[in-house]
């Protein structure tokens, strides 16, 4: 086996191991901050797999969007609300775990069956390599224009919805009930921290 082939194989094995171990850790760990960081690691490893498949643009986009934006936002949300408290014990935890493990294993079996039974056309079409950027652009503006635009409209709707939910204090009426809204913040009353505090 050539040096290049060996390097690729070793890289693939390491990246695959990171993906599997990171995902398991992300699901199994009880510390939600660790889970979020492991998610970032999994995204990076997936980007590495794309790189091995000669899809450098997709790999860079994966890092930019998933690691740089989505994972940072997840961490941001966790750290803004995190109180470092242990999760409360849930009733029938063992039963729940057994059931969800069963469902997951079933899904895994299904996927393995698909992988094994599908007649894969190997080796696939040659990788376009550096040309990929231009090809993705062409597809986005021709045959994939409608799905692309629909996805962006969907994201815009989600964003407006999130702003409406988060900034209810600036709307005159409640969006759900139509009643005149309370203009104060929902979370807490907005008394200044240092002034007007009763001296005890």
């Amino acid at each position: 086996m050539t040096i290049v082939g060996t390097t690729e194989l070793v890289c693939f094995l390491v990246l695959a191991a990171v993906v599997v171990a990171g995902s398991l850790g992300g699901v199994r760990l009880s510390n939600i901050v660790y889970s979020a960081f492991l998610l970032g690691g999994v995204f990076m490893a997936v980007a590495g797999l794309y790189l091995l498949l000669n899809a450098s643009f997709v790999a860079a986009a994966q890092v930019l969007v998933y690691v740089g934006a989505i994972n940072v936002l997840i961490l941001f949300a966790i750290m803004l609300v995190n109180k470092r408290e242990d999760l409360k014990a849930i009733a029938n935890l063992t039963t729940r775990r057994v059931v969800s493990a069963g469902v997951c294993l079933g899904l895994l079996a299904l996927l393995v069956r698909v992988v094994v039974t599908t007649p894969w056309n190997l080796p696939g079409p040659a990788a376009v390599g550096e040309e990929a950027t231009a090809r993705i652009g062409e597809h986005l503006f021709t045959d994939y224009l409608l799905p692309f635009e629909l996805a962006s409209v969907l994201l815009l709707m989600a964003m407006i919805g999130a702003i409406v939910l988060a900034r209810r204090d600036v709307l005159a009426t409640d969006v759900v009930t139509g009643e005149v809204a309370d203009q104060g913040l929902i979370e807490k009353s907005s008394t200044p921290l240092l002034l007007e505090r009763p001296s005890s």
Binding site: T2, M44, A60, L64, G68, A69, M79
Partner: protein, 373 residues
């Protein structure tokens, strides 16, 4: 590594194959060399900018600055580095030691890897990857994760606030930055840094992108300063408000990693500004013209060596002029407030960069000769 006239990689590989090594093994031995060279260049660049920072800040405040360590205090950065290296490495008792250690590493590694795409000459770069500047943008988006990690792991409210601020700032300024880069990419029809510089080589200084993208240049420079957390935008570590932000609990080498990452990032941003807007390795008068006037062939080895050296000197010179501007800005401007910072990013720079992109597209359609058809 160098164009046909001087093929260093070819001669290195031939020399090794003469000793009976296979071509693949020779390549494997060659690969780390440019990387090591660039790593050394990055560290030396940091030492120089630390010295410049100390001397220029002193001049701004009418002090002398370091003067005992070497001539003009030129060894002062080395002394600083040595001090940080031998300092005790403290991990706070209630901190999360794993994340606390991993945080600075995640901050410094993407910045160093981004040096991959900086060209110092036609083929003087580690790898001319097709995704070029896009690689840098995506790598610089990993940094906030390291900052959030160290802010969280320090178990200190100032650190956490600093980390959150750094992430918010980085996300806000990445969008106008990417849009400004996109306008340049649109003109050169390529993401590769080499192609972007090649497109600016036509008539020397007049064909540099700064004349075609003045607004984009300003947007990019402001955003780059914000991404480096340099002073008008150094809110994540604002001393008066947050002690030192996410760096508060760090000491010794871990603190030095943040310090290093900050300066490497500054030099990297300056290099990228010179690549994207100031003609990269190009001399103000095209070297081909000069060679023609002197009656020399461009492919002659001696001309190749001179062209290569001039390219490196020009890239570094342009970058350090920008570093000088950044240092002057740091010591002469006050810090903005966090709401002003986010307003500037989202309500001013983002619409401006969108307009800049649209105008560039329109100009490209209207005048394909001047704006890269």
């Amino acid at each position: 590594m160098v164009s046909p006239g001087l093929d260093l990689e070819g001669s290195f590989s031939q020399a090794l194959q003469a000793f009976g090594l296979s071509a693949e093994a020779a390549r494997l031995l060659w690969l780390p060399l440019p990387m090591l060279l660039v790593l050394v260049a990055a560290v030396v660049g940091v030492l120089v900018s630390v010295w410049l920072e100390r001397k220029i800040s002193a001049a701004v405040q009418q002090r002398i600055g370091p003067e005992y360590a070497g001539a003009l205090g030129i060894l002062q950065p080395l002394a600083d580095g040595l001090k940080l290296l031998v300092k005790e490495d403290i991990i706070p008792a209630r901190a999360d030691s794993l994340l606390f250690t991993l945080g600075p590493v995640l901050v410094v590694v993407p910045v160093i890897v981004s040096w991959l795409i900086i060209p110092f000459g036609q083929s003087l770069l580690i790898s001319n990857v097709g995704v070029g500047v896009f690689l840098w943008i995506s790598f610089s988006s990993i940094q906030p994760i390291g900052l959030l990690m160290s802010g969280y792991a320090s178990n200190n409210k100032y650190s956490l606030l600093g980390g959150l601020r750094a992430a918010a700032q980085s996300i806000s300024y990445e969008i106008p930055l990417a849009l400004a880069v996109l306008a340049v990419v649109m003109m050169s029809n390529s993401l590769s840094t080499v192609d972007i510089v090649d497109q600016q080589t036509g008539v020397g200084i007049l064909s540099w992108n700064i004349w075609r993208q003045p607004v984009g240049f300003l947007i990019f420079w402001i955003c780059a300063l914000a991404e480096c957390e340099r002073l008008p935008f150094d809110l994540p570590e604002a001393e008066e408000e947050l002690v030192a932000g996410y760096q508060t609990e760090y000491a010794g080498m871990k603190f030095a990693l943040f310090y290093l990452a900050g300066y490497i990032n500054l030099v990297l941003s300056a290099l990228l500004v010179s690549v994207l807007y100031l003609g990269g390795w190009g001399f103000p008068i095209p070297v081909e013209w000069l060679a023609g006037w002197l009656g020399q062939s461009v492919d002659a080895p001696i001309v190749q060596v001179i062209t290569g050296s001039v390219g490196i000197v020009m890239t570094v010179l342009k970058a350090y002029l920008l570093v000088f501007v950044a240092i002057l800005l740091r010591w002469t401007t006050p810090r903005v407030r966090i709401d002003q910072l986010l307003d500037l990013g989202w309500k001013f720079l983002l619409p401006l960069s969108l307009v800049n992109l649209l105008v560039t597209a329109a100009l490209k359609l209207a005048f394909p000769v001047a704006f890269g058809g």
